[in-house]
Symmetry: D2
Subunit: 406 residues, 4 copies
């Protein structure tokens, strides 16, 4: 079967309906809230999701068993990009981080009972969730092995203690997936376990919402404290001591869906810049007739098309079960940087207007910067990529003459 | 006289005192206001400036005749950089934009009477001012010749009408320097005149403050409307129809002082990143022991030192009256981009902490982005630089054999 | 049909055989000639091509009617990349520029008689060809409309006069495809015609071979002079005055096949660097354990994977007849720059060894630089890309509310 | 004393005479040899240096005691840049690498007798020299501590054994400064000693000249073998076991003089590109009227001016004896990369002409690439820069409150 790129007509149709929803509902709502969802009311979320349900584009990624549209990753790509055109689009489709990644994780790792209790209402939009992994220094960050939160086995189940930080969507979430150390020491690569913890469990405290550069994620980023939080045996998600492994299940696709959504942001920024270049006059010419502006516009397209092509490539590997750690790292790193370049150039094309809140660029500029850090900073991915390159070189040694002139 | 770089001991002393003031007064105030001065109370300004006066570092750039310290541009460079280490430092020293540039302009172009009335209280910190040049599209922006605001001669003086936009420091300013067209059409290179307009003059309306990416400039950025604003003949600053020319007097030094202050911001960001790299552990090592982090730290130093060297070079040319249009364009373009790179890298080194308000990086990230647009976007400067290169090439033609192999 | 990426097993097999041929035959020959084919003997070409024929990988792109393997563009991609791993690989497979592009053109535009006379021996490797389009300044270069070579109709056919420059593969070619102006003036967009001219036609003079940065193209780059070259009516390739149009038939695929081959060069360079990083010690560590070296290795992978994904995307559009001008321009620009970055980084990783002829990097460094200029410099492509962006923005106007906050 | 930039009139005059010599003598000679000096005859060197002597610009850097003009580093900067405008200019002035650095070293470290025997004829141009430090892997390269060549004390003096590689100017040199290990093991930071070795000493064998990307250094880059080379006690340059320390004496200034000369190369490339942009037409406009070409021209100026400013800054520190390790590393890294960018852009502006030998760009492109590796690759310098940043951060700890929000 030769390489082929076009999605099925049903997916194309889904994309068109998502575009319409974004234009008619998500963008106006975003403008009304100046792009900030950190403090947005639950009412906003309900309204947006109801519109998406009516448009038939709700939960496109979730399994049909739980009420989703069941798209594989390749088909999600154009839909999520269309949703990401507005900062509020993914919220409308219920495919925003961290819920979307959590649904993926629960579909694959949770027990039936856990799926009924946690996954079903999450897919339907009845509840929200958070993923409580990262910790303040010197705990788990880019290096998850530094995990310091502990879960100690008790007669009744587990006792959790720890400090979590930068937990997206925590305020208002119904439950948290908490990563805690069940064996080993901070720094050791194993011994983590995931727990499903209702947020009203005694001892789980929302300390504060962080003041952040980005503000478009519903529920914000919070600091949580776990003090003798008791959970039952049935709170274990997956298997004990296999938390890091289970996290990988979530990570690969989550990286790609981040790419898809933020590609929509980039597309939006590039469109705004092109519109501006088309209409604004300077130095006796249309802005878009000036070579340096044209370079910005062209580089935007190059970055976007290369990103899209990489995303599809990585989706294909994940969908078909091919080894995909290298391609998802590559894709995440490239797309995160490309998206930032696109928004930066687009803002520059818009000049002072781009700095002001009269255009969306300043907001988008703030929103995309964290992408180079979230889900592994570029440096961590580059390190992982290079190590795989070196291992491949090691395998080549002995099996072939190298390409060096003798 | 050979090239030499070290400032006089008195200047070094001034730098040390400025650093102390910044550490003791400006940084704490900045932290208390989360780096935002758009809505800061007048009280804050008074307090900061009183501290600077006591430290003997107030108004270092202003002429001694008006109460300043009378530093030339070369000596200002390290002092302003030290002040810029805090977003609130320049405000404390009364050397923030736009007042600092306006003082420079008034020193050179204003009449004695105008200097007494407008310059003296501005230098002393009694008043603030703004420079009302830019207009909403399709008016004056990167291309000042698009100026649409008009001043029509009346029997009593002048009648001003127009729409101004992105006027920094307008809210609370005692007067505005208004650029208006007195002859020619929008697009024509001549025919502009500057007017000194008290902000309580009837017809001058503060429409709104813009919501902006940056928020550290006291008084914010405003939209102004001028409707039949009447001013007398004595409101003309400099000569009629020579407004663009007079603006050049302001622009060259203003570009450099922007560079100096924002270099301080870059230095701050680089220090925060280095401190973090020193203490944070990841992957079994100090962050600062990882090569990709080292690269960020090193590139920060390279950008900062190259910026400093260029600034001094450009200051020398302006101080000695050498032709400096090319070197100031080069310096402004390089430094604006270098400062952005430094802050971006520093934020990246700090990871999620850098995204959060728990470190100053996210704030600095927002503050430096506009520098690539303010005082002429990089593209406009590059265009001007290239045209001078081509004119130089034209002059070479005929006067020498070129470097091309025959 | 969902997006899919994997080539058919027969293509995978072809790639493996090409890799073996490159390792066993092409790389040793390349080393023996130090990567330079400008002055290589015809004997070398015969030997390489005979080996490719035996390996069953000869002329993979040519139509089966003429003795090729008939691969579409998507299937060519991995085969050509494998061939390009050695500078002499494409020559072996008879898929090097300019012959490969000329075959494509003749397949689509030539008459049956012309195909028998010119295409058949070209595909079989019996002859070589050149494409005589570019001219010395002020003639046709990045701007083909500047074409100055003329063809004047005579009673017997056409009389060609002109000066051609940088004509790849001209020395030793059996025929040239000459672009000449048959109407209009230099600068006008129409009026060009292509002519098939035997290189032994009187009046067609090979003036000299150019001394060039790159040296791996068989037959070098030549300067040609056409003085009253007489050809018959049957020399017209395609239709009179539609030469620019026909050139487009050649250009799209030719750009992609350039990308494929040079991606092989990049892959080679990256492998050499990885091998070096694996074995060389410095500062008490393996070179590959140093973060800045890891960054180079990782960025190489990112550039290569993004390039591959873009190439496949563009091939898909060309293969399926979708509008592909934008995606081929984007792909050519990105890949040309990515390939240069990869080779540059790889050379840097190898240090002084990379500068010396003891490794292939210095040679590869010379060979890939022209790719950013050949087939349209990056600037010309960016200009074309931006104009399409602006036209798309124009179409959007009126049909939808833009993304700008009101 | 305030910062000041202009050189004394005598230096300006020297620059003018150097420019004239370069235009009249060096550039024509360079063109005649196509920029390659690896195989150039001794006669060429004699002729060029005789012309420089007549012009009064010979050996501007050498101490007046030995026949030089005695310029300090700041005054050398513009003179060396002027010389570097031609690849053969530094050879003419006898200020090319490695002789120029060796003169500097001998002036500071050699005994009187050594100065009379080796330095005097080197300054006068009677002899040439080489600096034999680097070794093939796994020996001394970017990491000099890997030094494997040994010197063993004998009754009569010393016995040297080792393998040297990439020894610039070795063919035809009268003597070599050989770095050999006199104590410690490869990898240890001490125990190196420098020896002055006449190249006709038995056992010192010139194995071969390396085939290299760059070819403008007179005498090329060679591989040397030392087999039981006997030298007397008086061959020790400086003190035993202090070779690495002495090498530092050479390195700081040598890095800067490399920068100066290669800045001349960059200036040349930028001029060629500007000339081309002035005259070449494309797409109905002068090349220089196209924005993307203007961007290249502007970025060239920015890179050159930033480089010049950094070089002067670093010269000032070295001339005045201030700590200069950080600023010379910064300057070397920035300038090496800037020079490469300038030449790359200039070549791009010239299009296919730039690829061909009909313009000097292809040659310059080859010549400047090694600068990012010679005298320490950029990565090694960045590593050293970062370590100094971290040490400075360490010193700050405890002495001041940091800039991080509490």
């Amino acid at each position: 079967m030769p390489v082929q790129f076009d999605p099925a007509p049903a997916v194309v149709d889904l994309v068109r309906r998502t575009e319409a929803l974004v234009a008619d509902v998500a963008l106006p709502a975003e403008t009304a809230h100046r792009g900030s969802a950190h403090d947005a009311p639950e009412e906003l979320r309900r309204t947006l999701q109801e519109a998406a349900r009516r448009a038939g584009v709700f939960a496109p990624h979730a399994d049909t068993r739980f009420g989703g549209l069941g798209l594989d990753l390749r088909d999600r790509a154009p839909v999520f990009e269309a949703a990401g055109y507005s900062l509020f689009g993914p919220l409308a489709l219920n495919c925003a981080a961290p819920d979307e990644g959590n649904m993926h994780l629960l579909e694959r790792v949770a027990s039936d009972a856990q799926q009924q209790r946690y996954l079903r209402p999450l897919v339907s939009g009845e509840t929200r969730s958070c993923f409580a992994m990262t910790e303040p220094a010197p705990g788990a960050g880019s290096d998850p092995r530094a995990l310091t939160t502990t879960a100690r086995r008790t007669s009744a189940g587990w006792l959790l203690n720890g400090h979590k930080w930068f937990i997206t969507g925590a305020r208002g979430a119904a439950f948290a997936i908490v990563m805690a150390r069940t064996s080993g020491e901070p720094g050791s690569p194993g011994g983590a376990t995931m727990f499903l913890v209702d947020t009203d469990t005694p001892g789980l405290r929302h300390v504060r919402d962080l003041d952040c550069l980005d503000e478009s994620m519903f529920g914000g980023h919070a600091e949580l404290l776990l003090t003798d939080v008791e959970v039952g045996e049935d709170a274990v998600l997956g298997e004990v001591d296999r938390g890091f492994e289970h996290a990988q299940v979530r990570l690969g696709p989550a990286r790609l869906t981040h790419c898809m959504r933020w590609l929509g942001t980039a597309r939006r920024a590039a469109d705004v810049a092109a519109d501006r270049a088309l209409t604004r006059q300077a130095f006796g010419a249309r802005l878009g007739d000036l070579g340096m502006v044209q370079q910005h516009l062209a580089d935007n397209e190059i970055d976007i098309e290369a990103s899209r092509a990489l995303v599809l490539r990585a989706c294909w590997d994940l969908d078909t079960g091919a080894p995909a750690a290298q391609i998802t790292s590559i894709t995440k790193t490239f797309v995160a940087e490309a998206v930032n370049r696109v928004v930066d150039r687009s803002l520059q094309v818009c000049g002072a207007l781009g700095i002001s809140g009269d255009a969306p660029l300043a907001r988008l500029y703030r929103e995309v910067r964290p992408f180079r850090i979230y889900d592994g900073p570029s440096e961590t991915h580059r390190w992982a990529i290079a190590r795989r390159v070196l291992r491949a070189a090691e395998r080549r040694e002995g099996t072939r003459a190298d390409g060096v002139h003798p």
